[in-house]
């Protein structure tokens, strides 16, 4: 069983985003965090003080652990930001 089977989902075909140079599939409507998590990427940032890895924590935009840089400029919360085809995602 997987979550897609559980709810009887047949998602539209995924497109690609790029995380730190690696292509990652994302379903239309999926957040960047979910796409990374779905691809088995669970840490996508390093902390300033202790240089520790971080990824998803609260999942709803409250903790700011999941921030990434998208397409070279905006620093965004990956859990709130819907992936778009071709997005280039880098650690914040």
């Amino acid at each position: 069983m997987n979550p897609l089977e559980l709810v009887g989902a047949s998602p539209e075909p995924p497109f690609e985003i790029v995380f730190a140079g690696t292509p990652v599939p994302a379903y239309p409507g999926q957040s960047i965090a979910a796409a990374l998590q779905g691809a088995g990427i669970r840490a996508w940032r390093t902390t300033r003080v202790r240089a520790r890895p971080r990824g998803l924590f609260c999942g709803i935009g409250v903790c700011f652990d999941c921030v990434v840089v998208v397409n070279g400029s905006a620093t965004l919360r990956a859990c709130l930001t819907e992936a778009r085809p071709g997005d280039e995602v880098e650690p914040a």
Binding site: L4, L6, S10, A43, R54, C58
Partner: protein, 455 residues
């Protein structure tokens, strides 16, 4: 822009029920939510492009949601999703909601309204412990949101821990969706509510819901252990195991009972903290709830002490989706100047009684302090270790605010939402780290654009 009769912030159970009730009473409503879909936390669901044929299997009461969502188009309710409200203010001619629209473009939009309902819900309440900052450790609600909203499993080998009945749907959902759940560790007693048999019998629906989760867990052979807590998480760059210990009634770990449980994911939560920023900005009075949390104070009509401002759902006390639905409806009727039917008021009273019983059955005990080590990060944003907080307390910081000034927990981007509860408890200030003026982060450029031109 012509002012709306009513602005509702939050499209979870409370806000949805409110918007529908007010719309049916003839009001012109704007329903605003930062998220991409209706439903809030409880009814969070996958995007329509997933074409789910059984969208309700991960939910209890999906039909209620479907009916509310289906009622909106026929009403004068302007649904504004992906609109994050960062400020609410009272003006001489009514109220104003300042939003940023879009998940990355951030176009500023302001909605004027005669009345406002704050239905902003809650976020997970977390406690620090060694290793809780490792990737793979996430909040129980976060794991649930990822599953319900994105149909992604938080991990393959999962431990669920914390306190309260919410751990059960989280574990059951993960198990049903294919994760191997290694155990559910409840720091309180698993039979928490059994101490209140009268209350359980008065709420057969809750009993049935709990029994359903119990069956799912049993079918997947998931153990549910009371008086057990995850006291440490281990791994180098990601979670590989947790230490589970038996705890005493005060949550102090019992020496010699520790064991390692291999896992790639820990979903952990110790209840919920209401999101009060907008209510606080508007100057609404707050009070302390039965669980020690800080909530918006409302009267029988869900009205706050600020004229025209109402609140409903978890922002007025953590009580679950059924209570949020009822409070939302009452607030919507009140905003339309309609009295709530007595039946609805009785239902609210019963559900609040149930919520109080749950708070009494699943309190957070102070023994979690015994899980902390000197280098345990307490504030995740600023990576403030426990030792630094202790120094601040030793230097005479007598409340959370002085601890914050001395040791700087809660000064990072989350503004103390994650560590506020723990720091408050460590410093003996139940209100946590205090007021946060801005509800959502905003770029300075956007802030400047609002000066003098609130349209």
């Amino acid at each position: 822009m012509r002012p709306y009769d009513l602005a509702v912030v939050g499209a979870g159970p409370a806000g949805l029920a409110c918007a529908v009730a007010a719309g049916r009473a003839g009001l012109r409503v704007v329903l605003v939510d930062g998220g991409p879909r209706l439903g809030g936390q409880y009814y969070r669901h996958a995007p329509p492009s997933y074409r789910a044929t059984r969208p309700g299997v991960l939910h209890h009461g999906w039909r209620t949601f479907a009916a509310l969502a289906a009622a909106l188009p026929a009403l004068d309710v302007d649904v504004r999703l992906r609109h994050r409200v960062w400020a609410a203010e009272t003006a001489p001619d009514g109220l104003r909601l300042h939003c940023l629209a879009g998940d990355r473009e951030e176009t500023p939009v302001t909605f004027p309204a005669a009345r406002l309902v704050v239905a902003t819900g809650a976020h997970d309440r977390v406690l620090p412990f060694p290793g809780w900052d490792l990737p793979g450790v996430l909040t129980a609600g976060g794991a649930q949101a990822l599953l319900k909203g994105e149909l992604v499993l938080a991990g393959r080998k999962v431990v669920v821990a914390g306190t309260g009945p919410f751990l059960l749907p989280v574990a059951a959902g993960l198990a049903a969706a294919g994760a191997r759940v290694r155990g559910v560790f409840e720091a309180g007693r698993t039979a928490g509510l059994a101490a209140h048999p009268g209350i359980l019998l008065a709420h057969p629906g809750k009993l049935a819901e709990a029994a359903g989760y119990g069956l799912t867990l049993a079918a997947h052979r998931v153990p549910y252990r009371g008086r057990h807590a995850v006291v440490a998480a281990h791994g180098n760059t990601a979670l590989t195991s947790v230490t589970v210990a038996k705890v005493d009634a005060g949550w102090g770990p019992i020496p010699g009972t520790e064991r390692m449980v291999p896992c790639d994911t820990l979903a952990v939560g110790y209840g919920f903290t209401p999101q009060l920023e907008l209510a606080l900005q508007l100057g609404c009075a707050t009070r302390t709830d039965a669980d020690g949390g800080h909530i918006v104070a409302v009267d029988a009509r869900q009205a706050t002490d600020v004229p025209g401002v109402y609140a409903a759902g978890e922002s007025t006390g953590v009580g679950g989706a059924p209570l949020a639905l009822v409070e939302g409806r009452i607030a919507g009727l009140a905003a339309a100047g309609r009295p709530a039917p007595a039946r609805l008021l009785r239902l609210r009273a019963r559900l609040r009684e149930f919520a109080r019983a749950l708070h009494a059955a699943y309190p957070v005990r102070d023994g979690w302090r015994g899980w902390l080590r000197d280098d345990t990060v307490v504030c995740r944003c600023e990576e403030v270790p426990y030792a630094r907080l202790r120094e601040a307390l030793a230097l005479g910081a007598a409340d959370a605010r002085s601890v914050k000034l001395l040791a700087r927990p809660g000064m990072g981007p989350c503004q103390g939402r994650m560590c506020g509860y723990a720091v408050g408890r460590l410093a003996g200030s139940p209100e946590g780290l205090g007021h946060r003026p801005i509800a959502q982060p905003i770029r300075l450029a956007d802030l400047a654009r609002f000066e003098g031109d609130p349209t």
